[in-house]
């Protein structure tokens, strides 16, 4: 995109990125020049005026109004230039175009969920059309998170009890990292999503299928999709590794020891309860940190996840599903 784009910035993929990058480049080169002048001067003086011979008094003026005025005034002018330039770009980042597609973003420990105007909802995957401005109306269910897409040069805090807004227009189809940039606890660095930019036509297709709740798929197959798209994958592994929560591998049908010391058999009802009311029966050795999926998952989706976890049990068809 520009000269520094390759060394420092990831390639800019939103309409505002070019303007931010141009300002960044200006700051970069102006800083390089200033730094070269200052350190070049210091280096030259150290060499040129290195101590030689005997101690003598040094002459030279210790004050010069003209000089001091100059080196105060020039930096003031320079920062005023960057201030107004930055102000200008910032205003463009603030004013949301009227025809923007509005998507509701919810941050919570430790995933992102997105609600679309047509009723679809996704987790950790924001699907948007290229070439259309998108307005994000954001809030948090627990602590402060921050919505950051490096390729789009946008970032905004996501605060509980308050809406915040940001917007962007992606230029090209592709997948771009979405990162949480406000420290939110144990899973902070796992709170990573994807912005999936698709063409307008693909977006419209996706809108139609996304509202369908996995039609044409078996429950277990649909559950396998949801395992990824609803962010179960962040905390529950399939290979036996203990992450933030217990693994799903060889889980179903076995007895689980809870934090209180009692045990419970992992059956359909236990899984359903753990999805809707996770703090009710917490597995021993794990923190009670899972958020409730009440209101996020529809009944068929819960059914699908139960079937999927069941299929991962000792007698299930884990290999097929994965």
């Amino acid at each position: 995109m520009d000269t520094t784009g390759n060394i420092f910035l990831p390639s800019g993929q939103s309409t505002i990125a070019g303007e931010v990058d141009a300002l960044f480049s200006f700051l970069f080169w102006a800083s390089m020049i200033l730094f070269a002048i200052v350190m070049g001067g210091v280096g030259y003086f150290i060499w040129r005026y290195r101590h030689r011979g005997r101690e003598t008094v040094t002459s030279g003026k210790a004050h010069s109004t003209a000089l001091e005025f100059t080196w105060t005034a020039i930096p003031i002018i320079m920062v005023l230039v960057v201030f107004f330039w930055g102000f200008n770009v910032y205003m463009k980042m603030q004013v949301v175009p009227k025809d923007a597609l509005q998507i509701k973003v919810t941050g919570q420990k430790w995933f992102w969920s997105f609600d679309y105007p047509h009723g679809a909802a996704t987790v950790n995957e924001l699907v948007i059309p290229a070439g259309k401005s998108v307005k994000l109306l954001m809030s948090s269910k627990d602590v402060i998170h921050s919505f950051f897409v490096p390729s789009f040069r946008i970032k905004m805090d996501v605060v509980p009890n308050r809406y915040s807004v940001t917007w962007f227009e992606a230029m090209n189809p592709g997948n771009y990292d979405l990162l949480c940039t406000e420290f939110c606890g144990k899973g902070h660095s796992e709170m990573i999503g994807l912005v999936k930019v698709v063409s307008e036509r693909e977006y419209n297709e996706w809108v139609e299928t996304s509202a369908s709740l996995g039609e044409g798929l078996s429950l277990a197959e649909y559950g396998a999709q949801l395992y990824k798209s609803k962010a179960c994958i962040t905390c529950h592994s399939l290979d036996g590794t203990a992450l933030v929560g217990p693994s799903f591998k060889d889980d179903f049908g076995t007895m689980r020891v809870l934090t209180g010391g009692q045990s419970v058999r992992i059956d359909e009802n236990y899984i359903r309860e753990s999805i809707l009311n996770p703090q009710a029966k917490v597995a021993a050795g794990y923190d009670p940190v899972m958020p409730t999926y009440q209101g996020i998952l529809k009944d068929r989706q819960i059914d699908a996840l139960v079937e999927y976890i069941k299929s991962l049990g000792k007698n299930g068809a884990a290999d097929e599903a994965e």
């Binding site: 990831p10 730094f35 200052v38 350190m39 005026y49 290195r50 930055g86 490096p150």
Partner: protein
Amino acid sequence: MYDNESERNYLNTPRGWKSWLFTLDHKRIGLMYLIAMGAAFLLGGILATLVRLELLTPGRDIMGAETYNQIFTLHGAVMIFLFIIPSIPAALGNFILPQMLGAKDVAFPRLNLASWYIFVAGSLFAVYSIWTSAVDTGWTFYTPYSTDSTKSVISMTLGVFILGFSSIFTGLNFIVTIHKLRLPGQKWFELPLFVWGLYATAIIQVLATPVLSITLVLLIIEKAGGVGIFDPAMGGDPVLFQHFFWFYSHPAVYIMILPGMGIISEVISVFSRKKIFGYKAIAFSSIAIAFIGFLVWGHHMFVSTQSPLAAVIFSFLTFMNAIPSGVKIFNWMATMYKGHIKLETPMLYAFSFLFLFTIGGLTGIFLGVIATDIHLHNTYFVVAHFHYVMVGGTVMAFLAGIHYWWPKMFGKMYSEFWARIACLIIFIGFNFTFFTQFILGTKGMPRRYYTYLDQYQPLHAFSSVGSWILGLGFIIMAIYLIHSLVKGEKAGRNPWGALTLEWTSPIPPPPENFDKDPVLNHGPYDYDKVVMERDIDKVKMGSVS
């Protein structure tokens, strides 16, 4: 009692451990601060290398996520509250300030001792509670995470609250000392610039620290009493906490840097044998930074949902506050012009300061411009920026001061050869560690991440290796400094040929600071009128001279 009157000094008179624990001598208190801070720096440094070790690869290396979060919290809290904030004023300032003024002690010696005890008690309390209750909020304690957290942040914040009093006591003491205990005839504009730096710092300490204390008390009230102040679940406003926190913590970065700038003014003038250029500009810029510094806290919150109008005003004021720092750099440059420059260790650190602090300052511009800050905020760019300012600025100035006043403190010279080697290693290691983090940040790597995406790994690995080089430099420094105490050459009365008052007394100074009444024969930087013989040229130096 002593065979030779010249051997009587503040270190050996009076004797016994009680005479240290109950001492009212500002020099001993300064030294005790130095020891406490050395311990804090060691702890903070070990934690930093653990953090870097964990970040060597994208996944888990040596610890779990929770341990990692606690370790970076402890690293930040220890380095900020136990080391950088008090380092220069409480340790070096305490030791040198009265001697620069020709005074026997600070204005309130008992308050001074009290501040040390409060500091130690607060430090132990804070470290103990972070350690045992496993606080993992980061050193910024942002709500509602800090109030939601199952871990107790009360004892931790109480520790910081106690530390605040130590800071206020020192600030108050210095303000009164500078006003009332100057040598008769020592005018304000004949004070060494280190004194101006300490004065500006003291003003901030006295005015800003109470705000942090109040904030922490509110946090404790909310957490213990269930009164909704910051927690939205109880009807509070989480962003309000950020305003309070930065209202203290932004001026606090000037508590950290202003005394450092004072040291740099001393060192550059002495080692360039040149009258400081633009004395009044440097003195007034310290005061200007101290005051405008109170009005820029919102630049930490450009994406926090504060109003865009407020953001724009904070951005503007931030630039206005950058100007006085820039002016100082030009003044130091002009001081070197036509000087007689000797690149001994304190000057090498001053040079490192100029190099690193200039980078820190220029990258601050990127963060002050809102449009670019939105991309860079809370990424490694910010981490790199404040390490360039705090380590590249304050710590380099602190090390310049330590090496400059070491002979004054202990009467011994360190090995100049090893000191230069260590300085070079620290300079290289620091840039290795932190310059890479600028690039990580612009590429989008968020701070406080335990694991990270694969594309960031090469730079992280580079940075981790840099931290080992940096650590090596500090180990070498510890060895030659301790060695100098045991076997170092005896230093002369005025090793560097400086003109400030503290160098007119014996080395190390007697308990009452001066052997005869100090007399002002010249200004602190009158190298255009006076030639002061350097005692160091008479003493044999290391293998490099």
